[in-house]
Amino acid sequence: MRRRLRAAISAVWWDILGRLGLSHDRWTALPRTARRAVKAAIWTGISLLLVAFLGVWQWSALAIAAVVLVLVVPRYGGVTIRGRKVGRYIIPAGVLAIAITYPFYAYDANGVSPGLPQLPIFGTFPLMSTMVNMGIFSMMALGLNFVVGYAGLLDLGYVAFFAIGSYMAGWLASSQFSQVNLRFGGVGVIQGLTGIHISVWLVLIAAGIVTALAGVIIGLPTLRLRGDYLAIVTLGFGEILPIVARNGDSLGGFNLTNGTGGITPIDPPGFGNWFHHHLGLPANYGALGTTFDRDYFWTVLVLVLLTIFCSARLRDSRLGRAWIAIREDEVAAAAMGIPLMRTKTWAYATGAFFGGVAGAYYASYNGSSNPDEFYFQISVFILVMVILGGMGNIWGVILGACFLTYLNSEGLNNIGAWLNGHFGPGGSDFQVWHTPLDVPLYNFGIYGVILVVVMLLRPEGLIPSRRRAAEFHEGVHDQPLYDTAV
C-alpha cells in the first residue's frame, strides 16, 4: 500500500512539474548536491512559512534555516584537512556547537527566550530543564543500546539500573544514613548535617561501578536464556527493584530507601570552593539561582560525549565485533570461540554502567530519588527511544531519546495548548470541542502510535545502522541451537 501511495504521489508531482517544463529527466540530470539543496530548500521554505503563519515570527528563524541548510546540504564525507579524513566529524561537531551554545541564545539567566521564534504547533524551543533530561535519557538510551542494539538481547528491565544509580546517589550524597557522618567533597552541605556527603563526581563513578556489578549479578543467571525468556526475566527484575525500593524503609528495622517518601534532599553537583577560586569552575550548581540549569546541561553534555566515545570505541573493537556476531548468529559466534556468557555479561554490565551514571546524575539534578520514578514504563520508554531512533546507531539512538524526552517533558503540553487555543473552548479558529483536551494524558497512546507508524514506514528506525537496516530487510539467520535439556 505504502509503495502504491508513494508511486501515485510521485506521478502527480512529476506530472505538474513536467507541465512547468521541469521534467523528471532534467531533475535527475542535476548533480546530487544540487538536488539535495533543492529538496532541503523546499522543506526549509515550508517550515519558515509555518513559523510565519502558525508560530511567532522572529528574524532569527532565517539564521536557524541557514544553519540547517549548511549542515544538511553539502556532502562532507570526503572532506580532508592536511590529508586526514575529518568529513564524518563535521555534522556531529556542528550539532555539538549548537548544543553547547544553546543556553546563550535560547534562554537567558531569567529563563526568558531572547531571540528564538516560536515554532508552529510545538511552541517555544525546549527549556533548559528539558535539555538536561534529554541528555540524561540520551545516556540511558545509549547504555541500553549496548544490550539491545549491539548484542541483540531484549532487556525490558533497564529501569532497574537507573534506580540503582539513583539510589547510589541517595546513599552517598544525602543525610539518609544519619548514623554516620562522613564528608568527602560534598558541596552545599550545611554545617552540622549528618549523613554521607561525597562529591557527586565520585558518586557518579561509584554508581556506575556498583550498577555494572549489579548488571553482572542479574546477568549471570538470566543471560543463559534466549529471546522471549530473557525479556520476561529482565522484566521481572525491572519490577522487583522498584518494589524493593518502595518497601525498603524497614529492612529488618533498617531504613535503606526511606520507602515511598524517597531520599531527599540529595546534594547537588559542584566542584567546591577550591576549584571555584582557582579554576573558575562552578562551586555549587544548586546555589546559582535561575541559571543553574546551564551548568547541569553542560555537565550532562560532557557525560553524553563520554558515552558516545565509549560506544564508538567499543563498537569497533574485538568485544564489539563479538557482540554483533552474537546478535547475528549465536551458534556461529560460539563456534568462532566467543564465550557467549562472558560476552553477553560484558554487554549487560557496560549498558548497566551508563544507566547507573545517568541515574545518579538524574537524582543529583532532581535532588531526590523516589520509587515512583522507576516504573516499567520507563524501561519501555527507553527501549522505544532505541528502536525509534535506530538500534545500534549512536546518532539514531540519541535522536530517538531527545525527541521522545522532549515530547514527554513539554512537547505534548505545547501541542495540547496549541490545539486547545485553536480548536478548544473559546478557540481562535473554529471550535471543535468544548472542554479543554489534556493531551499529555494520552502520552503513552501517542508514543504507541508513533512507534507503530515508524515501524510500518521505517522498521529499521529513523537513523539506522547500515547493518541493522539490512537485517530488517533480509532477516537474521538465527535458529535455536543448544540442547538446553542436557
Binding site: 563456534a335 533480509e474 540442547d483 542436557v486
Partner: protein, 260 residues
C-alpha cells in the same frame, strides 16, 4: 600410525528415546584427512556437534590433543584448536568478509574492554595486525578483494570459502568441515578438493570432513568412517570402504547386495 589428535570413546547421544549416535569410538590421527560418511539421518552432524561442544554427549568422552573436553562449552573447543564450518552456511550475513574473519580471530586476540576504550598502543597494534592477517587468510581462501563485501552478497561458493577462512582465523589444529561441497558444481567441487589438500600441505592442518560427494571423499581422504543409524559400521581406507558390503547395504539397501 601417528598420534591421535582427536579421539572419542563410546560417544553417545540420545534425543528422548532416539539414539542419534550410538557408542561410537573414533580416531583422527594427527595430520590426516579423515572423512565421515553415511546416509541421510545417520547422525553425522550430531556427531560433529558433539566434537565441537554444541551438543553435550549423553555418555562417552571426547579427547582432543590428550585433554578430555567432554561437557566443555563450544568456545573452549575453539580455543584448544578445533575450527568448524556448518552444513547450512552460518556466516555473519550482515558483516563484511573481513569482519567475519576478524570475529574468527576472537580467541587469538587479547584486547579487553578497557583497552578498547582507551585504545592503547597494544590494542591498536593488535587490530592493525589482525586486519593484515585477515586479508592474508581471505586471499589464501580465494577471496581476494572481497574484504568489504557483505557476507550475504557473496556468491554461494564464496560464502563456503569465507566460512573456511573464518574457521582458519581461529588458528585450528583440526578443521571440521560439514558437507563443504554441498550445492557446488563439479568444477567448484574439484577446486575445493584441491583446497582441502592444500590446507594440510601448506598449513599442516588435520581435516575431518563430512561429505556426500564420493569423488571428494575418495579423492582426498586417507581414512573413511561410515555411520548408519548412529552406529559406526565400517572404517578403513577409501578402497576398503568401497568394497565393504555393509556400507553398500546401508547406502543402497539389502536388495542391492543380494542381487550383485
Amino acid at each position: 600410525m601417528t598420534e591421535a589428535l582427536l579421539q572419542t570413546h563410546s560417544l553417545r547421544k540420545e534425543f528422548g528415546g532416539l539414539v542419534a549416535v550410538d557408542d561410537v569410538d573414533f580416531v583422527v590421527p594427527e595430520g590426516a584427512i579423515v572423512s565421515l560418511i553415511g546416509p541421510n539421518g545417520a547422525g553425522k552432524t550430531t556427531f560433529f556437534n558433539m566434537l565441537t561442544g554444541v551438543y553435550k554427549p549423553t555418555a562417552g568422552a571426547v579427547v582432543f590433543a590428550g585433554e578430555d573436553m567432554t561437557g566443555k562449552p563450544p568456545h573452549a573447543f575453539t580455543q584448544r584448536g578445533i575450527g568448524r564450518t556448518f552444513q547450512n552456511i552460518r556466516l555473519f550475513q550482515n558483516m563484511t568478509a573481513l569482519e567475519n574473519v576478524l570475529v574468527g580471530m576472537h580467541t587469538r586476540l587479547k584486547g579487553t574492554l578497557f583497552e578498547a576504550i582507551l585504545r592503547t598502543p597494544r590494542v591498536k597494534h593488535e587490530e592493525v595486525d589482525a586486519r593484515v592477517r585477515a586479508r592474508e587468510l581471505l586471499e589464501f581462501s580465494g577471496l581476494r578483494r572481497k574484504d568489504n563485501e557483505i557476507g550475504r552478497n557473496l556468491s554461494y561458493g564464496d560464502q563456503r570459502r569465507l566460512e573456511v577462512a573464518r574457521a582458519l582465523a581461529t588458528q585450528p589444529k583440526l578443521l571440521l568441515l560439514d558437507e563443504p561441497t554441498a550445492g557446488m558444481n563439479p568444477q567448484e567441487t574439484a577446486e575445493f578438493t584441491d583446497f582441502v589438500a592444500r590446507l594440510r600441505s601448506e598449513r599442516g592442518l588435520t581435516v575431518l570432513l563430512i561429505e556426500h560427494d564420493m569423488r571428494v571423499v575418495m579423492g582426498v581422504s586417507e581414512r573413511v568412517t561410515v555411520l548408519d543409524y548412529g552406529e559406526k559400521i565400517a572404517e578403513g581406507t577409501p578402497s576398503e570402504i568401497q568394497k565393504n558390503e555393509r556400507v553398500v547395504e546401508a547406502y543402497l539397501g539389502t536388495a542391492a547386495v543380494s542381487t550383485s
